[in-house]
């Protein structure tokens, strides 16, 4: 495109690269969407952890042996796989959201674990079942919130 071209006269940048302002902005938009999609893929991980928390705590509170042990091993395996998945994405964004969610989630998980260990009876029934389920939901909320914030299902944004 030449500087004198009627079509590009206003947006031509006069650079040796012959890239107009419109082309540059379009390229920025393309790259931004592509990177944004990959960064938002962490949302899938949060969603999986949210569902896992909803299953994990009822398994720990109410199920009989060996299910709590299996749940514990699965939890550790998921933690390792999560690091691999996060690293394989090759992009890390939304660091403020990640750090806040991680902080809140760890605090809630510790709280739920202490509740299960010190407060919950050995064989819960009645309202204790409701309390255990409520604790599981509370443990899932921070990560489900993060998944909702990232909305990986939205695709290109």
């Amino acid at each position: 495109m030449n500087a004198g071209d009627d079509q590009g006269a206003g947006t031509h940048t006069g650079s040796d690269t012959d890239m107009s302002a419109g082309e540059a902005l379009a390229q920025i938009g393309r790259v931004r969407r592509s990177v944004g999609r990959s960064a938002a893929a962490m949302g899938w991980l949060y969603l999986v952890w949210g569902v896992a928390a909803l299953l994990y705590w009822p398994a720990m509170f109410f199920a009989s042996s060996p299910i709590p042990r299996i749940a514990g091993i699965a939890w550790l395996a998921m933690t390792a796989l999560s690091f691999v998945y996060a690293y394989s994405l090759g992009v890390y964004g939304h660091s403020r959201l990640h750090s806040r969610v991680a902080l809140v989630w760890v605090a809630v998980m510790v709280g739920v674990a202490l509740f299960g260990y010190y407060v919950m009876p050995e064989r819960p029934s009645g309202w204790w079942v409701a309390a255990g389920l409520a604790a599981a939901v509370a443990a899932a909320v921070p990560v489900l919130y993060a998944a909702w914030r990232l909305r990986p299902w939205d695709g290109a944004r």
């Binding site: 947006t11 940048t13 690269t17 390229q27 920025i28």
Partner: protein, 105 residues
Amino acid sequence: MTESGAHPRHDLDQLIHTPVRLSIMAALAAADNVEFRFLRDTIEVSDSLLSKHMLTLEEAGYVKVEKAFISKKPGTWLSLTPRGREAFREYVSVLEKIMKGSPHA
């Protein structure tokens, strides 16, 4: 026209205003950290071309390069420095000024 009478294109940072370096800066501006191979695949360039442009941006103080090992696998993570982020923000602002001044914008 700007206040000085010059076309805003004169304010464009020529270090950024090349297709590859523009793409690198746009990718890094959209995230906190980006891995070298991810960036290479996203902007569709060869390892050597990306390395060459990264070096230019690193020397300008726009980009920070960090090596990390995860599960014994080496990785190179790239990010914008505060100076690079500011330069890119300014660059985009100049592009927008040019577009506003265009009858075709």
